[in-house]
Point group: C2
Chain length 338, copies 2
DNA sequence: TTGAAAGCGCTAACAA
DNA sequence: TTGTTAGCGCTTTCAA
């Protein structure tokens, strides 16, 4: 590693620019924020810009935020969940869309155990908006705290509407329900549900299991949760257990876990789908590559730029009432493994 | 979506807390920042805390940052690169480690085409530190700008040391070189190198190709770049072309692309590795699941919390000279596909 | 068309 | 042990 130079060059402020340009700080502000419409002459504008360029002037976001009473940060808390590949790709686009509107995305690693403490640390940033991907984690107290702090609009992705937040409904129990419903339709009776032991996945796994149980009750089939970590040896143990227990199907939490288990089952000589059916979730390209091809639940993702636009609009006009909750939909993609 | 209430509750500032507690704002500041050591009596502390709790006081990060001349944000620019699953998992841990030190991670979607403009927008945040994952993108001008703005320590992940930044060396050409070297050792002579057409991957793909070419020159074998998108139909076309052109090996950019291509080759009746060898990169678990198992390049990741600690230390004592550049290493994991 | 000045909320040097 | 006070850099109203 290389040491950084310790010399502290004098910081350039808008006052310096004003001095060099021979105008007031107000004028500088107008010019550099393009608020100069009709107020400042072309010549003055040019002078100011030249001065700013010459001095290498760089705006000061904290000062602006202090003045404005609000930052241009959009906070996305993660609640120490393992953000999967699918979500990560989505976030990527979302972030790009938001920065197109002039916002900066803050991915906030919040501790899941205390939603209020988490909300407090978001609120301290005085964010332009907060988008909680795991809306279920949002308590009423946390929502109130954000409101009180004057935080910008609150958005959430959640199974059920979050009071005080603009909720995009995404029913996390549905993948489990779809998978088990499908398996039951195909005559499967003893269905295992993989429960990842990796930290940060419990929430989602729990929801999917709940959906699986609901569907199982409806169809009169049996569902057994099976803990499994994302490792080959563990998958092998689980596969052996499934065979021993006479399960005729398994819902693999997502495509990654399903692929792992599928491999283990095949290696142990199980016929898939004849003896055991396997269903994943996420509909990643892998599902299509495996043999047998993996049945999976496909998410119709909410367009990232559309949501970004909505957030932007809501920041500008908080009074606007939005339409009924958006709903993220999903569907089963049946392939050869079930 | 649900409308948000438009009532604007009066914001609680430290002055309000001071008033309620019957002390000065300075005292409040000392108490709430735990800077009260020996300066404020226990009783006063308690009074202040009680008042803060009663009013639901929430600190104001922008004001603090303005005062301090620096925010507690650590900026991680992405330069619109598609952050892969591996990197995303690493970032997760990194972020958690940093927030343990009291920092907030800002994932900044910077446009890749103008490094200086990007640097300017990071600098406006007056971040505590900047960590550039694609250090190659960092120009001298950008580094200078950050320095001038008084940005905190600059860290980079890069193939070569970045002047003015603490660089963790990660030779992006190495995977290509390792793969091609290995293939050449196994007697392969006509090696295709997959060049993903997805946006944001060009950099990395270019580096890996460069490494491949270097190794090819050394070993006297032939390397051909082959554009391919992450889609089955495209993989099929590429596979057909490889067969037609008589290639006896392919370096698949990463495990995902390699898996895709492997599938296409097998489907078209190519014997892998007998006719065509396949090598990926990242050593994701998938590599182990495929049949034949996929040879891959494994990265020994820099421990996220270690780097976070280093950054924290450098923020506290910018004068400290760090050790020689850390080097992220990697190695080939040979499996059945080559 | 431009300038003067107030103040956003906080911290820390200095006084008491 | 606590209070007073001066800014940090910026925007925006009001006056010129």
């Amino acid at each position: 590693m290389q040491p950084s130079d310790s010399s502290e060059p004098a910081r350039v402020t808008s006052a310096d620019v004003a001095r060099l340009a021979g105008v007031s700080r107000a004028t500088v502000s107008f010019v550099l924020n393009d608020t100069a419409a009709g107020r400042v002459s072309e010549a003055t504008c040019a002078k100011v810009r030249a001065a700013a360029a010459e001095l290498g002037y760089i705006g000061h976001a904290p000062a602006r935020s202090l003045r404005a009473g609000r930052s241009n940060l959009v906070v996305i808390p993660t609640f120490d969940a393992a953000i999967g590949g699918l979500m990560s790709a989505w976030l990527d686009g979302f972030q790009t869309a938001l920065s197109g509107h002039g916002y900066t995305v803050v991915v906030h690693a919040s501790r899941a155990d205390d939603p209020v403490a988490a909300a407090r640390s978001w609120a301290e940033l005085r964010p332009a908006a907060v988008f909680v991907v795991q809306g279920e984690r949002l308590t009423q107290a946390a929502v109130d705290l954000l409101r009180r702090a004057g935080t910008g609009p609150l958005f959430a992705l959640s199974s059920t509407p979050v009071p005080g937040a603009h909720t995009v409904i995404l029913d996390s129990t549905l993948p489990g329900a779809l998978a088990v419903g499908h398996l039951a339709d195909r005559g499967r009776r003893r269905i295992a549900v993989v429960m990842p032991t990796e930290p940060g996945l419990d929430d989602l796994a729990g929801s999917r299991l709940a959906g699986a149980r609901r569907a199982a009750a409806t169809h009169g089939v049996e569902v057994t949760p099976v803990p499994m970590s994302y490792r080959i040896d563990d998958a092998e143990k689980v596969a052996a257990r499934l065979r021993a227990d006479g399960h005729d199907a398994v819902y693999g939490y997502n495509d990654d876990y399903a692929a792992l288990l599928l491999r283990a089952l095949l290696d142990q000589g199980s016929a898939v789908p004849d003896e055991v059916a396997v269903v994943g979730t996420d509909d990643v390209l892998i599902a299509e590559l495996l043999r047998p091809r993996l049945t999976s639940v496909h998410f119709d993702q909410v367009p990232a730029d559309q949501l970004a636009g909505l957030i932007h609009q809501q920041i500008l006009e908080p009074e606007t009432t939005l339409e009924a909750p958006s709903v993220a939909t999903m569907r089963l993609v049946v392939r050869d493994s079930s």
